[in-house]
């Protein structure tokens, strides 16, 4: 467990850098976490972030497939927005826990 300050707020992080408490998250924090991952957030990024946080709020499992069907972005576009391991990077920026989905 580590502590880090994003956007003036000190938060608890897991060993892998995910926020422990998703309620501490705000958009300014997202911008700073994104910068650490070499991503500059756009409106499209925020639309995905909102979708992910909403899904988690409802207790649903996050899958890449669901994002592809969200109407916000297709799967290819999702990989372009959050390069590398998109679901992991996107959840990290969204202040959510590490995804446990296999699809």
């Amino acid at each position: 467990m580590a502590q880090k300050t994003y956007a003036g707020v000190t938060v608890e992080l897991t060993d892998e850098g995910y926020l422990v408490d998703k309620n501490q998250w705000n958009k300014e924090m997202a911008v700073e976490i994104a910068q650490e991952n070499d991503i500059t957030l756009t409106a499209k990024h925020f639309a995905v972030i909102e979708f992910l946080r909403d899904k988690v709020e409802k207790g649903e499992t996050l899958t890449i497939r669901a994002i592809g069907k969200s109407g916000i972005v297709d799967i290819k576009g999702f990989y372009e927005l959050f390069p590398g391991a998109p679901l992991k990077v996107a959840t990290k920026i969204s202040g959510l826990s590490k995804p446990v989905s296999c699809v």
């Binding site: 499992t61 592809g68 290819k76 998109p86």
Partner: protein, 167 residues
């Protein structure tokens, strides 16, 4: 404190040689899972595994109801092989399985192929097997990048941190 050196997986090359629903899913889940982790991914479909990327067959893959000791009835009883031989049973069982997978947000095979390539994974068909089954590039899913020889596939599997997986 001792430093543990880690050598993360950089590339996986998966060979799918069987056309049973479960074998194809194993290959697809592993391939897509690698793509999701940002690992370079290449899949080589050969022999009956070609069904997974053949337009005519890809939506009609079945699981074996005969000679499959892990096959169970919904209540947990062993599934008698004799039942599995009856016409329509294999299709029925496969259809139930597909419904259960849909409920878990597991994609269909064609959709899985699209997800893999959307994330930058590459799909290949085996030259020898396509010749044998008389299949041409146009008979295969549009997601298939090329028909290549096994030697060419090995050529794509080089580099440190690469693993070849046979399903």
């Amino acid at each position: 404190m001792t430093e543990k050196e880690e050598y993360p997986l950089k590339k996986v090359c998966i060979i799918c040689a069987k056309g049973n629903l479960e074998d194809v899913y194993a290959a697809c889940v592993m391939a897509n899972g690698a793509v999701m982790e940002g690992i370079e991914t290449k899949v080589f479909f050969t022999f009956f595994g070609l069904d997974a990327i053949t337009k005519k067959q890809m939506n009609h893959l079945h699981t074996a109801t005969v000679g499959n000791p892990a096959m169970r009835m919904p209540n947990g009883w062993a599934f008698p092989s004799v039942l599995g031989m009856l016409p329509g049973v294999e299709a029925g069982v496969s259809s139930i399985m597909k419904k259960q997978m849909e409920a878990l947000d597991i994609p269909t095979i064609p959709e899985f192929l699209e997800m893999i390539t959307a994330g930058g994974g590459e799909l290949y068909a085996c030259k020898l097997a396509t010749d044998m089954f008389k299949l041409k590039k146009e008979d295969l899913s549009d997601e298939v990048k090329d028909i290549i020889t096994v030697g060419e596939f090995y050529g794509l599997c080089g580099g440190q941190g690469t693993q070849i997986i046979f399903t």
